[in-house]
């Protein structure tokens, strides 16, 4: 049960160093500069980066990430072309692919796993692959040193949350609110609650995502959880023309916020 790959090893190490974990999300291929953006985000103090592979029907994503996905798809990118781009890059932090399970099943677990390996991906997040259907991929992924991260929602029962946390690898993704990805001006109470609940049932790194958009929110949640995932706020900045440097500045400020937390 307590086996895991290098993604989780990496995050556990950060945590044991008293560092709060910061995982920014970037939509792959949203612009030709996306690779550059990843490098800037890494340099700004990310502990891992979530790379979204655009899917035609992203049911867990709000308008911002949908828009980024559409931009990317309209540029003609494919899962393979994006992963190919990544395979010739190297990053100091692990990459975690976030996408929908049809892309996995369509390519086939082995083929898709192969593409991920080539791109040196350390983990995967499939928001529409529930516990009950995840075993096959999780096991195969493990053979490629890919940690399949699983999600727990505010309405997941205690019992089920524990099972999911056990089965998850890399970290446990606590969903901060009932809703899809998107920028929210105020932090939902549910974000801290899920953090408390998850910390109580697992020793695995607990990261909270969805609805965390700024330094204050990151600091609040980060003081309970092991860290945070920030997606739409970053992507919005990129879509608004912030560029790699803007991303760097934004992530740096979040880093700062997290670092202010009294370990």
């Amino acid at each position: 049960m307590e086996s895991y790959g290098s993604l989780e090893t990496h995050l556990r190490k950060a945590r044991s160093n008293g560092r709060k974990i910061l995982v920014p999300y970037v939509t792959a291929g949203y612009s030709p500069e996306w690779i550059d953006t990843l490098h800037h985000v890494a340099a700004a103090g990310a502990d891992a980066i979530e790379v979204g592979i655009p899917f035609s029907d992203p049911i867990m994503d709000g308008p911002v990430i949908q828009a980024a996905s559409t931009l990317a798809l309209n540029r003609g990118v494919t899962p393979l072309s994006l992963l190919n781009e990544l395979s010739s890059e190297s990053f100091d932090v692990p990459l975690v692919v976030m996408t929908y399970c049809n892309l996995l099943f369509h390519a086939g677990i082995e083929r898709f796993g192969g593409w991920l390996s080539e791109a040196k991906i350390g983990g995967t997040i499939f928001p529409d692959l529930p516990l009950e259907e995840s075993e096959e991929w999780s096991s195969f992924a493990a053979t490629k040193d890919i940690d399949n991260v699983m999600l727990v929602s505010p309405v997941t029962s205690e019992e089920r949350a524990k099972i999911i946390a056990d089965r998850s690898r890399g970290f446990v993704y606590g969903i901060g609110l009932m809703g899809v990805t998107g920028v929210r001006s105020t932090l939902e109470e549910s974000a801290s609650q899920i953090a408390v609940r998850l910390k109580a049932v697992t020793d695995r790194p607990v990261l909270i995502g969805i609805g965390i958009s700024n330094k204050d929110q990151a600091r609040t949640v980060g003081s309970i959880a092991d860290g945070v995932i920030v997606g739409s706020a970053l992507v919005k900045l990129l879509l608004d023309g912030g560029g790699p440097q803007g991303a760097f500045d934004f992530i740096s400020s979040l880093r700062e916020g997290l670092d202010e937390i009294d370990g």
Binding site: F55, S56, D57, P58, I59, M60, D61, G62, P63, Q66, A67, T70, L73, T78, P79, L80, Y100, C101, N102, L103, F105, H106, A107, P127, D128, L129, P130, L131, E132, E133, M150, L151, V152, S153, P154, V155, T156, S157, R160, I164, I175, M178, G179, V180
Partner: protein
């Protein structure tokens, strides 16, 4: 005439049709689906619930819908054609059977609101209707492209008290409306039920919608026996998501009848799709080489869905049913022929089933066969579109 299928309705079921089906949704929705499944199983075992469901369909929806023997077409085609007249239901199609069931479940769950996706607007109008009747709030998601193409149905939904949201993401059509309804559902699942319009989506939807629609086939089977001492040689229905078809087929799966589902050439998820996991279910979908869902293209908005309900994928794979395709021109011809020969203007969706019959009577379907065909809806909604295509209107 009432058909009793209480026992079967209450059967538990694991959500898999062979390798198809399942429940592929964000974790935030898993609890709601489990609750829905429980409440549905419980409700369908509750005689009071079932009686209410049947009574509303009778006294409000107009059930039972009759079987019409088509003397003229039968003569022309050399087969005996019987239509199951879902076009005579309140709101003009079989959709009402499902929404009444789901609206009652919504109340049973103590929820106060329904959301729904809609393509052409038929399911949206039906859901808004059931919501008005049962005092529920209602929001309908509709692709922006469709809100423009079907402005009148948007008005009808509003008239019925529903809010209509034009979905601006993706291709801005039905599949995106489904995505958006799912997303919205994640955010309001506590007080809101998502009323899916076809036998698709995550478990328990494909099963539940089938059970609410099987009244079509159960009635038809009993009526044919009663009135004509007949068990049909062929049972034919059009397939979009597949609810009218599965609602018809279910009564005949265990009989000797040959079963045929008819898909539009441009949205033939069974004939041209491949295995996929989208919209919460494992089924057949029309996809590009990497698994991105493609848009369907059909003359009929109600069949413009690039996927299909999982039970159809299973019936096709197991060979118990066959699935044929027809093209838009055949559908247009069938639309006109049925109108002229029988005085029944069919919706474009069931005109697909007719087009197949017209093509294959005397071919795949031997002369002398008896055929039950589900007239899933009336063509009023399509008259303007067809008039424009045929050059009668600008």
């Amino acid at each position: 005439m009432t058909v009793d299928h209480e026992v079967d309705l209450a059967a538990d079921f694991d959500g898999k049709f062979g390798p198809f089906g399942g429940r592929y949704v964000p974790e935030s929705l898993m609890a709601a689906l489990a609750e829905l499944e429980d409440v549905f199983n419980d409700a369908t075992r509750d005689p009071v619930f079932m009686e209410t469901y049947r009574e509303i369909l009778r006294s409000y929806g107009g059930r039972p819908s009759p079987i019409t023997k088509c003397h003229n077409l039968s003569r022309e085609l050399g087969v005996e054609l019987y239509l199951k007249r879902e076009d005579l239901n309140h709101t003009g199609s079989h959709k009402i059977n499902n929404v009444i069931g789901q609206a009652l479940l919504t109340k049973r769950m103590g929820k106060s609101r329904m959301i729904a996706e809609t393509g052409a607007g038929q399911h949206g109008v039906a859901t808004a209707t059931a919501a008005a009747l049962l005092g529920l709030k209602c929001t309908v998601y509709m692709g922006e492209v469709d809100t423009e193409r079907q402005a009148l149905n948007v008005f009808r939904m509003k008239l019925l008290g529903a809010e209509v949201i034009a979905v601006k993401s993706g291709s801005r059509t039905l599949k995106d409306a489904i995505n958006e309804a799912m997303r919205e559902w994640v955010a309001c699942v506590e007080d809101t039920h998502y009323c899916i319009g076809s036998a698709m989506g995550p478990h328990p939807y494909p099963y539940m919608v089938r059970q609410f629609q099987r009244i079509i086939g159960d009635e038809a089977k009993a009526q044919l026996l009663d009135e004509f001492q007949l068990s049909p040689d062929y049972v034919i229905a059009c397939v979009g998501g597949g609810s009218n078809a599965i609602g018809t087929f279910t009564a005949f799966v265990e009989t000797d009848s040959k079963i045929v589902g008819v898909e539009p050439e441009g949205g033939a998820a069974i004939a041209r799709g491949v295995l996929g996991v989208i919209h919460g279910m494992r089924s057949q979908f029309i996809q590009d080489e990497f698994g991105q869902l493609e848009e369907a293209h059909s003359i009929s908005a109600g069949l413009d869905y690039p996927g299909v309900g999982p039970e159809h994928a299973h019936l096709a794979q197991s060979g118990r049913a066959t699935y044929a395709t027809v093209n838009d021109q055949e559908v247009l011809d069938a639309f006109q022929r049925c109108s002229r020969s029988e005085g029944i203007i069919p919706a474009l969706e069931p005109a697909h089933a007719l087009a197949y019959l017209f093509r294959e009577a005397g071919g795949e379907i031997p002369l002398g066969s008896s055929v039950l065909l589900t007239m899933s809806g009336r063509g009023d909604k399509d008259s303007e579109q067809v008039a424009k295509i045929l050059g009668y209107l600008k």
